[in-house]
Symmetry: C2
């Protein structure tokens, strides 16, 4: 049936097929190829992505490093050994996934040709048995599957994701065939009665579920589950087991159903949980869901920065003790925040509970977006919440997972806005767009207009082809404590907000209009007192955005010495220069004017100190809010 739809698209010259998403959840994302973004906040970012981020990835993987050449060498088109890090193939795949996504909404023959060329190198690099990894093939052909840490399945998973994206974008099967051959090889090699294997860096699991949805071949789903079940039984291989981190570093210390505490490498954990959710939804595994809910509490209530960033330690790129959340040395890898978006998206799909979108949104607008500059060509790998002025975005990294992850994440943003099933449409994110989707055989056109996150006014028009009954569920963000809503100009009587959504159930008719007004005051956020470094400090937040002070705006003040209180009044004002399409906040401390800018926008101008958590002076009062 899915293939038939692809065929239809191709017959009518539409190269973009429906973007594959996990389809056995009780509710599905409306994929980004059905969502056309026109938004003051996101459109410039999408433009920066297609102009600069993709070019950077192409330049860096092809021209400035050996990543593409590694494939050419493995393909026999160039002489020489693999150069670089053993997981460098994955950056090529993620860049390709980003390029493919950009093709879906912005056809571009040059990019399509580039993908064709690269796919030809990749296909030729694939071994006869289906194995594909340039590091091993070129440098250690006899040592496949000897070290869980070597990212063989991680690279393969990204290859599968890129191949599916290419297939969706172009309808061509050239790359997908490679992916299927690789997955079949894995299935031939690993599984019950075959070889044991625990991948040191998760990713393959969620990729195999995507491949199952694309091909409808259930063996990939079974393999994904088997790989999950391999964990925690001593099947890991390689030096990592003897390292200071031990098996917990790669979530191989306990069976996945028993996970309760967050441990180890942050990105790996996020990808594991994403895969677990995908498998749990397909195969109905309540123990997985229970484990995910337990560890979600542990992550979000004891181990997450206010930016939605996770993994406080540089040493293991991951988690340490509960409440150990230092600011200056915060690791908060960009990829880990992207992982938080993936995982929380899946938790929301599993539960239809908006609390997961609250975290998704926190990570998205702060931890993820800080990972790339406004032009889209400089990147943070590490996203601290405080800086002495010596931490800056880079053009690329030896370990380049973050830029390439940004390259594939940003163009997919449209997929996070809506969910639907036969009788419900969920609005999760407030981003200006036009969406077209089918609901119980009725074509529905839905538009959002908003200045979010700069204000909380959202206008939604619902235009079904003909009247159609459904439950429209508008997310009331967790940061929002009061809001108003109207339908066709009449105030909506809200009986309750269930699981974070305002439900409007009715027969929707063409021309129906919703106005949602989310009160978006500046808030001073307090951390649990057990976060030692933030005692007597506050973070400034407005809507989903965490703000920070940067030295450049506060020249006369030593920003370490800034103190605020409940009495501070913040002026919401339009930014200037590079920040000219943002709202910045100003206030005063002892006659010094202070300027707070969105955290994601820091280090876009002059280098200097930065701080999220600000000294706070308690002011006693008969009545306080």
């Amino acid at each position: 049936m899915k293939k038939y739809i692809f065929l239809i698209f191709q017959i009518f010259g539409i190269t973009s097929a429906s973007v594959v998403v996990a389809q056995s959840y009780q509710v599905q994302p409306i994929p980004f190829n059905q969502v056309s973004i026109e938004d003051g906040f996101w459109s410039p970012r999408l433009k920066s992505h297609s102009l600069n981020t993709l070019q950077t990835c192409i330049h860096q993987t092809r021209d400035s490093t050996e990543r593409i050449n590694n494939f050419k060498k493995a393909a026999g088109l160039l002489e020489g050994q693999h150069q670089g890090i053993y997981f460098d193939d994955s950056d090529v795949y993620k860049a390709m996934e980003g390029i493919a996504y950009s093709l879906i909404n912005n056809p571009n023959p040059e990019y399509e040709k580039l993908l064709d060329d690269w796919i030809s190198y990749i296909a030729k690099s694939q071994q006869a048995d289906g194995y594909l990894n340039t590091f091993y093939t070129l440098n250690h052909p006899d040592e496949r599957w000897t070290d869980m840490e070597k990212h063989e399945m991680y690279c393969g998973g990204h290859m599968i994701e890129a191949a599916i994206a290419h297939y969706q974008a172009t309808g061509k099967k050239s790359f997908l065939d490679v992916a299927v051959k690789f997955a079949d090889y894995l299935d031939d090699t690993f599984g019950p009665g075959k070889q044991h294997w625990v991948p040191g860096h998760e990713e393959i699991e969620l990729a195999l579920v995507k491949l199952y949805h694309t091909t409808e071949n259930k063996k990939y789903l079974d393999l994904a589950r088997w790989l999950l079940e391999e964990r925690g039984h001593g099947h890991g291989k390689g030096g990592i087991w003897e390292s200071e981190w031990g098996p917990a570093y790669c979530q191989d210390d306990v069976p996945v159903s028993e996970i309760a505490d967050i441990k180890g490498h942050a990105v790996r954990a996020m990808y594991l949980f994403t895969g677990m959710a995908d498998v749990a939804s397909e195969m109905n595994i309540p123990e997985y869901v229970d484990a995910l809910k337990r560890v979600w509490e542990d992550v979000t209530q004891r181990n997450m920065y206010v930016t939605g960033g996770i993994g406080s330690s540089r040493s293991n790129e991951g988690f340490t003790e509960d409440y150990d959340l230092p600011n200056k040395t915060a690791y908060c890898e960009t990829c880990a925040s992207i992982g938080m978006v993936f995982w929380n998206n899946r938790m929301n799909l599993l539960s239809k509970d908006a609390k997961y979108v609250d975290i998704l949104e926190r990570s998205l607008y702060n931890g993820v977006l800080s990972g790339v500059n406004l032009e889209g060509n400089l990147f943070f790998y590490v996203n601290p919440l405080e800086s002495d002025g010596d931490h800056h975005r880079q053009r690329w990294f030896g370990c380049a997972c973050c830029p390439s992850n940004i390259s594939r994440f940003v163009p997919s943003i449209g997929s996070y806005i809506y969910l639907k099933n036969d009788n419900e449409v969920f609005v999760n994110l407030y981003i200006g767009n036009e969406a077209n989707f089918k609901l119980a055989n009725t074509n529905v056109h839905l538009t959002q207009k908003t200045n979010y996150p700069w204000d909380g006014e959202i206008a939604i028009s619902i235009d079904p082809e003909t009247s159609v009954p459904f439950n429209l569920k508008l997310r009331i963000p967790g940061w929002c404590k009061s809001f108003g809503a109207s339908l066709n100009g009449k105030t909506i009587e809200v009986s309750s907000i269930e699981d974070g959504y305002l439900s409007i159930e009715r027969k929707w008719a063409p021309g129906d209009k919703i106005a949602l007004s989310l009160e978006m005051p500046v808030e001073l956020i307090k951390a649990d007192d057990r976060v030692a470094e933030n005692k007597n400090k506050r973070a400034v937040q407005r809507g989903p955005l965490v703000y920070c002070v940067e030295q450049i705006d506060n020249a006369t003040t030593n920003i370490d010495e800034i103190t605020i209180s409940r009495n501070n009044i913040f002026t919401i004002t339009q930014g200037e220069g590079k920040l000219n399409n943002m709202k910045v906040l100003t206030t005063t401390d002892k006659a010094n004017k202070l300027t707070f800018i969105p955290y994601f926008a820091w280090d876009n101008r002059e280098p200097g100190k930065m701080e999220v958590w600000i000294n706070y002076k308690n002011q006693s009062s008969l009545y306080t809010n």
Copy 2:
């Protein structure tokens, strides 16, 4: 000069002269005769006032009680003794003051004729020496000035205020002549080398300052100061000294310059402080100002309800211990809240500090407005913060100070919106209106459009005859922690908020437009833990309005058992029925829908329980706002 201006008005057939306000403050209110209110919130109240409140006062003083007849009797037009309470004359005066104010903006020959008639009775009741008090004249002619508690000067003060209002409204001196004769009699009788006297209920002091401004005769100001200085030296007379309350009940325990702690009867204290501020500003008495600032801290930080109401005890109609603020037995006399408006207005005039307007606004929108129903014809004397359903507004009271105070206060609301001096214009309250005033010889037309207090959007147009430089100072209310402002469409860079005002200094030109956007979220207000009854409770506030729950909206719930937390999300929705021009708030508690209505609007529908302070459940979270 002032008389000359009045003459000009009269020549051109304008009967309304400038309303007299304390003129030696460094900044002056723009009086309400220069401020035409057209406002969604206040216009209906002004209409209710002129339709119903005044009619109620006329009916009650003239037809249903002996108040007017007491004057007729004292005038020799009727036979008989004084009937009623010894201070009943004051209700007539306050009703007359209200009628006169209404004439200023709404000329009405019938009301003018009624005042003429009543003034004729009053004039005839005045004794040859100037003394005027129907209780003593009719019942105890030989006992004048034997008991400080008997309100002789209190009644006289209200007579003076009414006479000035009548003069301002009509230009006629018939009533003013009576007032001057009375004041001259006081000045002949009391003062240095003459009789000692401490009025048991303050009021005369502020009235004498008003009379000084009206007549420019400084002896009235001197007498006001002398009366203030009489206090605290054992000059009080009458049984009150031996009562359980002692001299502190009427602020006669310490000299006024030494006042530090709030004590005694709440209304008396407010009128005293108002008079002290007036005298301090005229005569430059820093010790008065210091005392006022000390006691202001004591009132607002330890002895004030969240509604801005004061005086927790029914027993003394006044103050008790610090933090003794019970909800169900809260006294919070309506007159005391009106007194808070008077006093805080004066403190603001003294200091140009908006913190006093924050309190004024709190008392005004909650403690004062709760004192009258929406139709303007039923009144609270006592304004508790919790009710079992047995507390209701009345048509009138034996002691009717509150209805008559409402009758003169409401039509004066326009005087609280703006202050000005030669180079500053302060916008203190956000109320839709058109104001016309002179600034450095330039006529300035200023308009405000707003839905305040239902939202925080305010549009101000400034149209001077010709361009004129001044500092426009917009109050950023204390409840408001974040706002945006623009001038002619361009965001305003705010360097600081000084004393609660956003200053915009420029040469203002015709057509200049300001947009002010005050973020107005629903807030959960916490009381100091020393307020025993509010421990583990929260009050719901939005903008200046305190909200409450009433049984009628929450039929399925025992409102005593309602519990809220930080997780509650409030929907801001349009009220229905009698509340149809208000915003009500809804939320849920354990699947029960809860409705919060503005506190001032309670007991306007079916009788039932009411509560301001709601049980609160603390929800721990890694990050809280």
